[in-house]
């Protein structure tokens, strides 16, 4: 009985501690930033009002539509190209690094940490570093997305291969099949649906990120937004945002559809 009481009072203390810590952090943040939560809340409404009044893509913005669509298409294509190249590289790395498909202990030991490092460096950091070597060109953005995607997809592919791998590999090894036959006829068909799903996810993500990278590298639709914004052409900048949102939603919807078809 006493033990039960002790158990519940302990649970209560833990919860109070967690809640109290969070509250303290919030108060600390307020003091540090001289931020008033209530003022901030009303400020958000005022901010939205200003946004709608100034950024609404009114008629005067529409002549820019041609330029915007062209740059948006270029940005989407860079994102897709970077993802596809990354997927090819990542698949080979994953085959060499995954426990079930790898015959090389050294590659297994090296690829996992390599992929983690690549993935954990944000693409913005990649872009900034690469700007020194490759200047403000679309290639810099492509490369930044590529490097981050290689890391991300390698990790994801390795886990997928390890999940589907063992039974499939054993079944085909039992027939006397060689390594590449086992990979191409067994492992890849078995893993195809999750692999493509990761690929689509990466494409979606990279399209969003590509617009941001464009601001840094001075290319694509991100640069266009930056340009309009800094030259006070707010309705045109608003049109860029709307176009990006529309394209992202469209890509998201078609990716979902494609996944459904694949998993059927």
């Amino acid at each position: 009985m006493a033990e039960l009481t002790r158990y519940f009072s302990h649970q209560r203390r833990v919860r109070l501690l967690v809640f109290g810590t969070l509250l303290a952090l919030l108060l600390l943040a307020q003091v540090a930033l001289q931020l008033n939560v209530i003022e901030a809340a009303t400020g958000v409404f005022a901010g939205w009002g200003w946004l709608v009044a100034n950024f609404a893509p009114i008629a005067s913005a529409f002549p820019a539509l041609g330029e915007i669509s062209w740059q948006l298409a270029a940005t989407v294509l860079i994102a897709i190209a970077a993802t596809m190249v990354a997927a090819g590289v990542a698949l080979l790395l994953a085959l060499a690094g995954a426990r079930t498909t790898s015959h090389w202990p050294l590659a297994q030991a090296l690829i996992r940490p390599f992929a983690s490092i690549m993935r954990n460096i944000p693409f913005v950091a990649w872009a900034l570093v690469l700007l020194f070597s490759f200047k403000q060109t679309p290639f810099t953005g492509f490369l930044a997305l590529l490097l981050m995607s290689v890391g991300y997809l390698t990790r994801a592919f390795m886990e997928t291969l390890d999940e589907v791998g063992h039974g499939v590999i054993e079944a085909l090894e039992a027939t006397g099949a060689g390594y590449w036959a086992i990979i191409c006829q067994g492992v890849l068909p078995a893993a195809a649906a999750p692999l493509v799903s990761w690929l689509l996810y990466m494409i979606e993500n990279n399209i969003r990120d590509a617009t941001l990278v464009g601001m840094l590298t001075g290319t694509g639709v991100g640069f266009l937004f930056d340009l309009y914004f800094k030259s006070f052409r707010y309705p045109a900048a608003g049109l860029v945002v709307c176009a990006i949102i529309l394209v992202t939603i469209a890509i998201e919807l078609s990716a979902t559809k494609l996944r459904q078809v694949l998993n059927a």
Partner: protein, 251 residues
């Protein structure tokens, strides 16, 4: 004929998997390996196509020795040893027919193997084998849409596609309902006679071994404690095979 002599396997953790196991199996017979959990049934079965490599002993199949075989020789030998699994191990998104055709991959060179290029004759044979296991009408369906019993029949057809001399069955009915179990066991027994195969099955259930096997190997704590015709399996033999388990239950 499959001849096994003095097979020994010790795991890295020091556990003895197999101790001096030896036996001889004839073509056209079904052999059941029975014994308590953890006795070494799976170790023994998986040693026979060298999924597990024993430290010493010999496994001889038609004059080819497997324990000391090189990688290339082993691949060559595995072409004649089919295997079916508890969880079927099919490539789920591929059709039943494509899964059966995988039985030919051992004979293929690098590129045709990678690309899955099968000859017309191979495709016809795969179709005929599906017919033989009663699945002709499901040939183009993806494996994942089949029932457990059907999947196992596809697994058997894939093994038969290798034109094997031996088929190893690793708990083939452990995931199946009683009716599918009967179908699969009857099919295996029929195939052994019809095609003069040596079929070796790991089983948990003694009554199934009695019903379908011609020959029984009893394993206890890594040792072969029974190796005789099914008719010779009496209570004394069963007590020997399941010795430790009873001791544990009786405290």
């Amino acid at each position: 004929m499959l001849t096994v002599t003095a097979l020994n396997k010790t795991y890295p953790n020091g556990k003895r998997g197999l101790i001096d196991v030896g036996f001889e199996l004839q073509a056209g017979t079904v052999t059941a390996i029975i014994g308590p959990s953890g006795a070494g049934k799976t170790t023994l079965l998986r040693s026979l196509n060298r999924f597990i490599t024993p430290e010493s002993g010999t496994i001889e199949l038609d004059g080819l020795e497997l324990v000391g075989a090189t990688r290339a020789a082993l691949r060559q030998a595995r072409r004649h040893i089919g295997m079916i699994f508890q969880d079927y191990n099919l490539i789920e998104p591929l059709s039943a027919l494509e899964n059966v055709l995988h039985g030919t991959l051992g004979d293929k060179r690098l590129l045709p193997g990678m690309m899955g290029l099968y000859t017309h004759a191979e495709k016809k044979r795969a179709m005929a084998l599906l017919q033989e296991v009663g699945l002709a009408e499901s040939a183009t369906q993806p494996a994942k849409s089949l029932s457990g019993g059907q999947k196992q029949r596809v697994g058997i057809a894939r093994a038969l596609m290798q034109s094997p001399q031996v088929i190893l069955c690793d708990e083939p009915i452990a995931s199946l309902d009683p009716q599918s179990t009967a179908t699969i066991m009857t099919l295996l027994a029929k195939l052994a006679k019809q095609k003069q195969l040596t079929i070796i099955i790991n089983l948990h259930q003694v009554d199934l071994a009695r019903e379908y096997a011609d020959h029984i190997i009893g394993i206890n704590a890594g040792r072969c404690v029974f190796d005789d015709a099914t008719a010779a399996l009496d209570d004394a033999a069963l007590a020997r095979i399941y010795a430790q388990e009873e001791a544990m239950v009786n405290g």
